[in-house]
């Protein structure tokens, strides 16, 4: 079982934060198939948060095929995020390391690297939409 928290400075809405925390836990292996997510009632009581927000987050996770609700019992993890991605992670990280070294040699400081990454990332995402 994981425990949710809310970060007022994250810039994400509470429902996005819950979704992200579950995805993060799945990726790190803190949650795996068959595990139960905290009951809506308990999250509500813990965080003083709107139950609709929790339901919305769980619905989105369900829609993504990561969890399934069993009426009257709770919401359980059915999918995984770590399995396929872990294998691909190492070579990607190595590529990125090489690229970072190249960027530093070209004289970019951390901020410039971050800005370059973000603008490229966004531009690529936009091309995918269009």
């Amino acid at each position: 079982m994981i425990e949710f928290h809310l970060d007022g400075k994250s810039g994400l809405s509470p429902y996005q934060q819950l979704v992200r925390q579950v995805r993060h836990a799945l990726r790190l292996g803190l949650l795996s198939e068959g595990d139960q997510l905290p009951k809506v009632k308990d999250v509500v009581a813990d965080l003083a948060i709107n139950p609709n927000t929790v339901l919305k987050a769980y619905r989105e996770l369900e829609h993504d095929g990561l969890v399934a609700a069993r009426p009257g019992v709770g919401t359980f993890v059915t999918g995984t995020l770590s399995g396929t991605s872990l294998a691909a992670l190492a070579p990607l990280r190595q590529d990125l390391r090489r690229w970072l070294a190249k960027a530093r040699r070209a004289g970019l400081d951390e901020e410039s690297i971050e800005a370059l990454f973000l603008t490229t990332f966004r531009a690529a995402a936009k091309e995918d939409i269009a």
Binding site: S13, V44, A45, A48, N50, P51, N52, K126
Partner: protein, 293 residues
């Protein structure tokens, strides 16, 4: 399902309109935050919904009936006014007995459990309670009444941070377990961000913005880029606020479509940014009266 519906609702005190042209649909089962500057008409709207005030124009329907129209209607709606009034000469216990007598759906177990948890002495006269304790007593009566709709005017203003969090927890549990609908006014946007999934922004006696919080956040964007005239923006981007420096333009737009113009740096807003943008720029856009779905 609608829990509160207003059509052209207005309220006039002597010569001044405290609320005007208010058209609204508040969905059932949601927690609606009511925000706006002091004197914008928040308390007036809540008073009209509770049946404490009579409309000067238009109509309002709450839980399917006219506010304050009879015992059945009164049982459906709970209201805690801003000054959290209690009977000074009655004890805390007598308040609970009164609540049990007057409210058909009274949850006596919840009321006593809550009073014990807060640490109120049942034998103490309500007039001797501190401001925060008085608010806790009034809010306990409001929740234990088990209404369909609970109207709260600045419910947490006089509570300390711990009491505030505990009250919001109790309130959210009631929403989760009993499907309670809530409309609450507050200046504490951080609290609203946690508990509200629906929003009404009132400015100058009018509704400036209303809708589902996540929808509103998803359709508002902050665009930053080289200085330009906002008249050149696509027609589907409605300008909420705009600021120029000699080189840069920052504009806050409402749009359903993705921002495709590559010259803009596109940023998201949090609830506080969104509310402040509407509070500080009352004139840029026509008031939007529709409910966003």
């Amino acid at each position: 399902m609608t829990v509160l519906r207003a059509q052209g609702l207005g309220k006039k005190y002597k010569r001044r309109w405290a609320l005007t042209g208010c058209t609204l649909d508040v969905p059932a089962g949601h927690v609606t935050g009511l925000v706006g500057p002091n004197g914008a008409g928040k308390s007036t709207l809540l008073g009209l919904a509770a049946g404490m005030l009579e409309p000067s124009s238009g109509t309002i329907e709450v839980c399917g009936g006219v506010p304050g129209s009879g015992p059945a209607q009164l049982a459906k709606v709970g209201f805690v006014a801003q000054n959290t009034p209690v009977y000074a000469n009655l004890t805390v216990e007598e308040h609970l007995r009164l609540g049990a007598r007057l409210n058909p759906g009274w949850d006596d177990e919840l009321a006593h459990e809550r009073i014990a948890r807060i640490g109120l002495d049942p034998a103490q006269a309500a007039g001797k309670l501190s401001g925060g304790q008085r608010a806790q007593l009034a809010l306990t009566l409001g929740i234990a009444k088990r209404p369909e709709l609970l109207l709260l005017d600045e419910p947490v203003a006089s509570l300390d941070p711990l009491a505030r969090r505990e009250f919001l927890q109790d309130l959210m549990e009631a929403v989760a377990e009993h499907g309670l609908s809530v409309v609450m006014s507050s200046h504490l946007i951080a609290d609203l961000e946690r508990v509200c999934d629906h929003l009404i922004v009132l400015v100058d006696s009018r509704i400036r913005l209303t809708g589902d919080v996540d929808d509103l956040l998803a359709t508002h964007r902050r665009l930053t880029g080289p200085r330009r005239d906002v008249d050149t923006l696509p027609a589907d981007q409605r300008v909420v606020s705009v600021r120029h420096t000699d080189r840069q333009t920052t504009v806050l737009v409402r749009t359903e479509a993705p921002i495709l113009d590559p010259s803009w740096d596109v940023g998201e807003l949090d609830l506080e940014d969104l509310i402040l943008a509407y509070l500080t720029n009352p004139g840029v856009e026509r008031p939007n009266l529709g409910v966003v779905r």
